[in-house]
Symmetry: C2
Subunit: 196 residues, 2 copies
C-alpha cells in the first residue's frame, strides 16, 4: 500500500522515476529509433534496474505510447508559448519556424523527433493514432493562424508549412547539414510576410 502522497504508477510527478523513464525513453528512441531501442537501454539511461521498468509500464508499447504523449504535451506547451508571446498570426508562424530552426544541429543528426516517430509508428497495422496527432495538432494550430490572417485556403497553407518543415528536416538529417533548416526558416519567414 502507498500513502496519499506517493504517486500511483499511472500518475506523473516531475522528477519521479516514471518521468525519468519517459524522458530517457524519449531521448534513446529519438537517437536510435523505436525498434532498435531496448528496455535495457532505456533503463540504463534512466539509472533504473530493468525489472523495475515493468512496475511503471506493463509493456514496451505502453512506454512508447507514453513517449508519444510526452512529445504531444511538449508540443502543446510550445505552441501555447508562441500564442502568448505574439498576437499577430504572422508573427506566431514565424516564431514557430524560428524556434524549430534553432534545433538545426540536433535535426542534422537525428531528424525531427515527431517526424521520426510518425514514420516508424505509421507502419504499424493499428495505425497508432497518437503518433498522427504529432502532425495533426501543429497543422491545426497553423490552420488557425492562417485563418486569422483571413486566408480561405488556411488548411492547405497549414499542411504546406508543416510539410516544408518535415521535408527539410529529413534532408537536413540525410545530408547532416544544419544550414538547410536555417535557410528554410528564412525562406518561410519571407513567404509568410509576402502572403496576401
Amino acid at each position: 500500500m502507498t500513502d496519499s502522497l506517493s504517486a500511483a504508477p499511472g500518475a506523473s510527478r516531475p522528477g519521479g522515476k516514471r518521468e525519468r523513464l519517459i524522458a530517457a525513453a524519449a531521448e534513446t528512441i529519438y537517437a536510435a529509433g523505436v525498434e532498435k531501442t531496448t528496455l535495457a537501454d532505456i533503463a540504463a539511461a534512466a539509472g533504473i534496474p530493468l525489472g523495475n521498468v515493468y512496475y511503471y509500464f506493463k509493456t514496451k508499447d505502453a512506454l512508447v505510447q507514453a513517449v508519444v504523449e510526452a512529445h504531444l504535451a511538449e508540443a502543446r506547451t510550445m505552441l501555447a508559448a508562441v500564442d502568448d508571446a505574439h498576437e499577430a498570426p504572422r508573427e506566431r508562424l514565424k516564431a514557430l519556424f524560428s524556434a524549430l530552426a534553432q534545433q538545426s544541429d540536433l535535426i542534422a543528426r537525428y531528424g525531427c523527433p515527431h517526424g521520426s516517430l510518425c514514420q516508424e509508428l505509421g507502419k504499424r497495422a493499428d495505425g497508432t493514432p497518437a503518433a498522427a496527432e504529432l502532425m495533426r495538432e501543429p497543422v491545426e494550430w497553423a490552420e488557425r493562424q492562417f485563418a486569422a490572417m483571413g486566408r480561405p485556403d488556411a488548411r492547405d497553407l497549414a499542411v504546406q508549412v508543416i510539410a516544408r518543415y518535415q521535408g527539410t528536416a529529413l534532408l537536413t538529417s540525410a545530408f547532416r547539414d544544419p544550414g538547410l533548416m536555417e535557410a528554410e526558416a528564412r525562406r518561410v519567414a519571407q513567404w509568410i510576410d509576402a502572403l496576401d
Copy 2:
C-alpha cells in the same frame, strides 16, 4: 563449383534468387521498416528457405544495403526516363512530381520508401552513406533542371522541391490521405510554371 553460365552470389540475374530476395526484402522493409523485418519474413516472401539467404548475403545488413542500392538503381532509371521523355527542364520537373503523385495510395499507407529508409538508416552511427544517396541524387537531378532554366539559385530550389515532396509524403502517410500528395503535385506544377 559452378559453370560459367551460373551466377556467382554477387552477380544479379533478373529472376534469379538473389534478385527475388532483394525484391522481397524491399517490399517487406517498405511495409514494416528495417528493424522490424526479419530474415525469416523476407525468405518467406521470396519463397526461399531461411538458411539459403546466407548463401547470397553474409548478413542482414548486406541485404539491406542491396535493397538501398536497388532503390537507387530504380530511381536513376526513373530520372533517366523523365530525361528521355521531355526536353524542357520545366516539363521534366513536373513529370517527376506527377509520377511520384501517382503513388499516392501507397504513400498514404507506408510513406515514401526512400524517405523511410533515410530516416531509419540515418540514425545509425556509421551514417550508412548509401541511404543519403537516395536524397542526394534526386536533389542533384533537380538542380540540373533548375540550372538549365537559368536559375542561379538552382541548388536551393532543388532542395526545396525534394523537401516539399518528402514532407508531403510524411503528412500523406500520417493522415492516410492520398489527396494531400495529389494537391501538392498540382501546386508544385503551378509553382514551377510561375518561376522566372
